[in-house]
């Protein structure tokens, strides 16, 4: 029983992780076209990734978009989670449903809706629409993760701060915030990764010179069969691995997933 279970576990892990190993190797190919095993090993395609202008601009757009929309989602989500948990507001359930709704709507619909009914009629720039779409997607994560850490912080700790002379604002910044810090950090990391990897929302929200990295990769691979996308995929996989390992070390990210 145990042997069978472990064999299955090993096979599944190979199935889940193996492709990343393969893509890293494929990205080190010395040949002209994508193949596995690669024809010789070299760093030329890894180097090439950094030379392709569309990848570079897309990378910076994706990074700024991920950081910006995650921060915005936290700024909106932390007070909301706090109010939902502590102030017992009117229609709390309805509001919770509204702010967590973006998680159940397929991203492609969001992207199309923003393009057709926000960008076109109101004439707002594509980048702003990208920020709105990504932030809306991340607000539910921010609210959930922060709510979860607020539950672990008893309200009497805040009352204790007030009894020692703190205003409500002071008790929030001096007592609540420091104690939900790791939850906020977890929400930031999850938000960053979710936004950075997001495809469906960004799919319709592209314009001249405005393409997020995953979309740029998909456009590129439609017309190019060289190993540069493999090299880039390998780099992204390694970047994610580094973030996950750092997060796991800092705060045990697996608790929040």
């Amino acid at each position: 029983m145990r042997f069978a279970g472990n064999t299955l576990l090993t096979l599944v892990l190979i199935f889940l992780i193996g492709p990343f190993v393969i893509i890293c190797i494929a990205g080190l190919s010395g040949g002209e076209t994508l193949a596995f095993p690669p024809q010789g090993l070299s760093l030329r395609w890894v180097q090439r990734v950094f030379e392709i202008e569309s990848f570079r601009s897309a990378f910076w757009l994706s990074i700024s978009l991920a950081i910006g929309s995650t921060l915005l989602a936290l700024i909106l989500g932390i007070p909301a989670a706090y109010a939902l948990d502590r102030y017992n507001p009117p229609m709390a359930e309805t509001i919770r449903n509204i702010v967590t709704a973006p998680i159940i709507v397929p991203g492609i619909i969001v992207g199309l809706a923003l393009l057709r009914h926000l960008v076109v009629p109101l004439g707002i720039p594509i980048t702003l629409a990208l920020i709105i779409g990504h932030t809306a997607l991340l607000v539910p994560y921010a609210v959930r993760v922060v709510s979860a850490s607020l539950i672990n912080l008893r309200t009497d700790v805040e009352e204790a701060a007030v009894m020692l002379g703190a205003t409500r604002l002071q008790s929030f910044f001096k007592v609540v915030l420091p104690n939900i810090r790791s939850g906020i950090l977890a929400a930031f990391i999850i938000g960053f990764i979710t936004s950075f990897n997001q495809v469906p929302i960004s799919l319709f929200l592209t314009g001249p010179g405005i393409t997020t990295l995953p979309i740029g990769m998909m456009f590129y691979m439609e017309f190019n069969f060289d190993p540069s996308v493999a090299a880039l995929s390998g780099l992204l996989a390694i970047m994610s691995l580094a973030i996950v390992m750092l997060a796991e070390k800092l705060l045990g990210l697996s608790r929040y997933v």
């Binding site: 700790v157 009352e159 204790a160 009894m163 020692l164 002379g165 703190a166 002071q170 001096k174 007592v175």
Partner: protein, 336 residues
């Protein structure tokens, strides 16, 4: 001398059909230690939270040191509160927990150091100043909570069941420590508890609460020796309480004992005389308590609890024995 703290017609409401506390009046002098005593749900904690400012009264006023504080926010009242759960700040060291209030008050850091060190020394925690709260035992956390509240020198210190999370030995130790601190500092304190032994040992005055009202208020001796009602008597260890209707209940009141208009009469277990007297009962339970044996008797008057010295001859289960409810140990109760 005017009252230091005065509650007038205080009514507190949690939104339920009946108010948690209704038309409460009481006052206390500076440096007094008053215990609010009662079973859970009697409104004692609610009253304390209203005094602290953590709860808005539906009506009534709270005066502290000749100032109406009914509408003053909790952080500006100069009232300290020690929480039942201690509510230490998990992210701050012991020193920083204690320094919290002083930092908010922008006390200079040299003064903070001096005052925090002094208060930690007085609760015996100087050696733990750099620890995190989670590394402390329950008793130590309790001392930090206490130190944190007294270092800001509140006009009034409220303690919410402060010893209920400690084991029996620590509870005794902390009880005498609280007594000592109160003597030394002379702080005015309100002590909320459901444990009558704690209230008796610590308080200058005890207020017994029941269903949002004051049942009896008086010195520990008053409450212990002269409970005014069956409710208080029960709470103070009078296990044998009887209602008297129309001032008389045939067969219970000792011959020639004038009960007047009393509504009840009560005896502690040790006041019941065993082996002689006009009443008879059957032993249905016996517990050896060390010095004494406590018997539970089934009698025509109802169940009676009686104590006898353990050195006296024992009575077996089912044995029928005579007992007496003597005038000497009886207490008359004015109300039900």
């Amino acid at each position: 001398m005017s009252d230091f703290l005065k509650l007038e017609k205080l009514t507190l409401n949690y939104g339920g059909p009946t108010p948690a506390v209704e038309n409460l009046d009481f006052s206390m002098q500076a440096s007094e230690l008053v215990a609010l005593l009662g079973p859970s749900g009697c409104g004692k904690t609610t009253t304390m939270r209203a005094i602290a400012g953590l709860m808005k009264p539906a009506s009534g006023t709270i005066m502290l040191d000749n100032r109406d504080i009914t509408r003053v926010p909790a952080n500006k009242r100069g009232v300290g509160l020690v929480f039942q759960s201690y509510a230490l700040f998990p992210h701050l060291s012991v020193f920083e927990n204690v320094a919290f209030g002083l930092r908010l008050a922008r006390v200079s850091s040299a003064d903070i150091k001096r005052r925090v060190d002094a208060v930690l020394a007085s609760v015996g925690l100087s050696h733990l100043a750099d620890r995190q709260p989670r590394e402390l035992s329950g008793g130590q956390q309790q001392r930090v909570a206490l130190a944190r509240s007294i270092v800001v020198e509140p006009k009034l210190l409220l303690l919410d069941e402060p010893l209920s999370n400690l084991d029996a030995r620590l509870r005794l130790e902390m009880r005498s420590e609280l007594s000592r601190l109160q003597d030394e500092l002379g702080i005015t304190m309100i002590y909320v508890t459901h444990d009558q032994a704690e209230a008796l040992a610590l308080a200058d005055r005890i207020i017994v609460m029941r269903e949002g009202r004051i049942e009896q208020s008086g010195t520990p001796e008053d409450i212990y020796e002269r409970p005014v009602s069956i409710f208080v008597a029960n709470f103070m260890g009078f296990e044998n309480c009887f209602e008297l209707t129309g001032g008389k209940l045939k067969g219970i009141a000792p011959a020639g004992f004038e009960t007047g208009s009393a509504a009840g009469i009560a005896w502690r277990p040790h006041a019941v005389l065993l082996g002689q007297g006009a009443h008879k009962g059957t032993v249905v339970g016996a517990s050896y308590l060390g010095q004494v044996v406590e018997y539970l008797l089934s009698t025509p008057l109802g169940d009676i609890k009686a104590e006898a010295l353990a050195s006296a001859p024992r009575h077996g289960m089912g044995e029928e024995i005579a007992f007496d409810l003597p005038q000497a140990g009886a207490v008359l109760l004015a109300r039900r």
